[in-house]
Subunit: 350 residues, 2 copies
């Protein structure tokens, strides 16, 4: 299948899954409609990267096209929806994928209905619950994909490990942002668990495990997926500071307002003069950071050479991934698709 | 097995499961230790009601004692831990099971370490992530219990439905508290999904499904479990207002401070004079409600006859449950145990 064809089938599988849940919710109460609407809006966006890697992990290990692998792969989008919804609550983010974040949607519902009490608490409560529902539904969708036996048992071990890793990685990410002391090394550790494994390596392993992959295939997918995953997150960090809001779906400089302690920031601080370092410590994490403030930080990140150092790391990790792919014992179609996905995951205008 | 013996085995299964996760987390980072400590403290408490009902659902349907059913049953405690952790964030509760709530623990850690930034945001972020981890681990523990084949597939359907129901029920609960307009009928709908099904009916069904129960057994477990579950929640609501903090693990009158729109409150409002109703609307949900305020509300709930009406409902639902149990096609041991559990779940001093 082509990349756009997979995307379409993943979209259809997600829609079909949510449509199977819809009558259950409405039988409990019409009042649950806003949960479904919020999920519909969130799921309409997204690049379906994790399902694509899962699908190509399956194909790389010799799995044949079928609806079951598409459903298993699509379940990763529900897991990601859960992570995004909860992440936005934790970061107090206003937008996601170019739309109001889920907690802000429910805050607005509270206001529109003129309900008494605390709109913000209602918004974050609803978002916590919808995130929980997406997390529960992601495992339901995975478990009911139709692939059974020893392979699913082995794949479930991958799935379980992936969830533990991403949640721990997110805690460490929050911890580093709170402490404000991340070095490039500690920031890279966060990237490995929160992002590289979760977004690329584990989805590849999941598909591969479902196809009953040999250990050499799984190893090759790690050699390709882990550096690519790091490059993906470093690119995301650069876009979080310099990206076009029209492309990222987030306001310009949002990562700066959230005070994210990324590898990019650590590389900048390593190279900053004390005046530049002071400016970063003062402005980073300021929720009211305005456009001139964003521009000042961008200038520092560029002028110190932090940006160039980060771009060089991206290039190096991408080269490592491509090199690993060259010798990977995977099918020719998978080789081609994984090569294209490496570009798609790290392209500047993504 | 006796009730205390099941409890002990569930405790051991939980400890063993968390101990299997511990090295995974510590291999990622020592910084994850506080997540494990917080979970250890939370899991040390709790009455293990849901595992007990799951176990006796299994035995009722003719399942034989084994480690696998204990692990499947114990997984419900991780699901409950997730619900409690997130619930406490949503309600801004300070305590749980007589200990600081998870978000308050992490807030205190932030303070003790003198980290910069927002201690409260760090606390709730950590609690959201630990709740997510517990939710993921609950399904992992269930799926790896060792019971396989068609029965687990059928049981998984019960498990999935239970999670959807409880999350939707919690949303409706929050919605009713926000609107402040709950009638006894709408409050009962919340009780059914958030509590009666989740705490009693579905755990019974889960155990029964794993044992391959006949439909008449499943039906009998509903006839017993649903009214008992309602009685359980109504008793919990009464204890939330009148309970001894030493027994409930919560400060006196905490449900009143949280503004919970329970059946007890609805029954009181139905019977209140306009002065009494005004006092309730004014004081209910006041986070700073002091002891005289709690006492005033208690007096109104008692003097209106709201309390007596609620106690009468508890008695009626309990009678219905006991009656259903009398004719239930279950084993004699299960009959005896379910009869004792009905008392344990609704006793005044619980």
């Amino acid at each position: 299948m082509s990349t756009s064809r997979i995307r379409k089938e993943v979209d259809e599988a997600l829609l079909a899954f949510v449509d199977r849940q819809r009558p259950t919710l409405l039988a409990i109460s019409d009042d649950l409609t806003p949960l479904l609407s919020a999920l519909d809006v969130l799921l309409a966006g997204g690049k379906r990267l994790r399902p694509a890697f899962c699908y190509w992990g399956w194909r790389a290990a010799g799995g044949a096209d079928c609806a079951a692998i598409v459903q298993a792969a699509a379940s990763l989008e529900l897991l990601q929806a859960s992570a995004l919804i909860h992440d936005d609550v934790m970061d107090s983010s206003d937008t996601r994928r170019g739309q109001p974040s889920v907690h802000r949607r429910f805050e607005a519902l509270h206001g529109a209905q003129s309900w008494p009490g605390d709109a913000e608490a209602f918004g974050s409560g609803a978002a916590i619950l919808l995130g929980d529902l997406c997390l529960a539904w992601s495992s339901e969708m995975f478990e009911t994909c139709g692939l059974g036996g020893d392979r699913r048992r082995h794949a479930r071990d991958v799935y379980d490990m992936m969830r533990t890793e991403v949640m721990c990685g997110q805690y460490l990410d929050m911890l580093e942002s709170t402490r404000g002391e991340a070095t490039a090394d500690t920031a890279l550790r966060v990237v490995e668990y929160k992002s590289a494994k979760y977004t690329i390596e584990r989805p590849l392993h999941l598909g591969a495990a479902l196809a009953g992959a040999r250990p050499d295939v799984t190893g090759a997918l790690t050699a390709y997926g882990l550096p690519l995953g790091i490059a993906f997150q470093l690119r995301d960090d650069v876009l979080g500071v310099f990206g076009d809001p029209g492309e990222t779906g987030k306001p310009a400089g949002d990562d700066l307002r959230e005070g994210k302690r990324t590898v990019l920031i650590a590389l900048t601080l390593e190279r900053a003069s004390s005046a530049q370092a002071d400016a970063i410590q003062r402005r980073l994490g300021d929720p009211d950071l305005d456009r001139p403030g964003v521009d000042e930080l961008r200038t520092i990140i560029t002028e110190t050479g932090g940006l160039a150092a980060c771009e060089a790391m991206i290039d190096q990790y991408l080269t490592d991934a491509e090199k690993a792919l060259t010798s990977a014992p995977v099918t020719p179609e998978a080789h081609q698709a994984l090569s294209e996905l490496a570009v798609a995951a790290t392209t500047r205008s993504m």
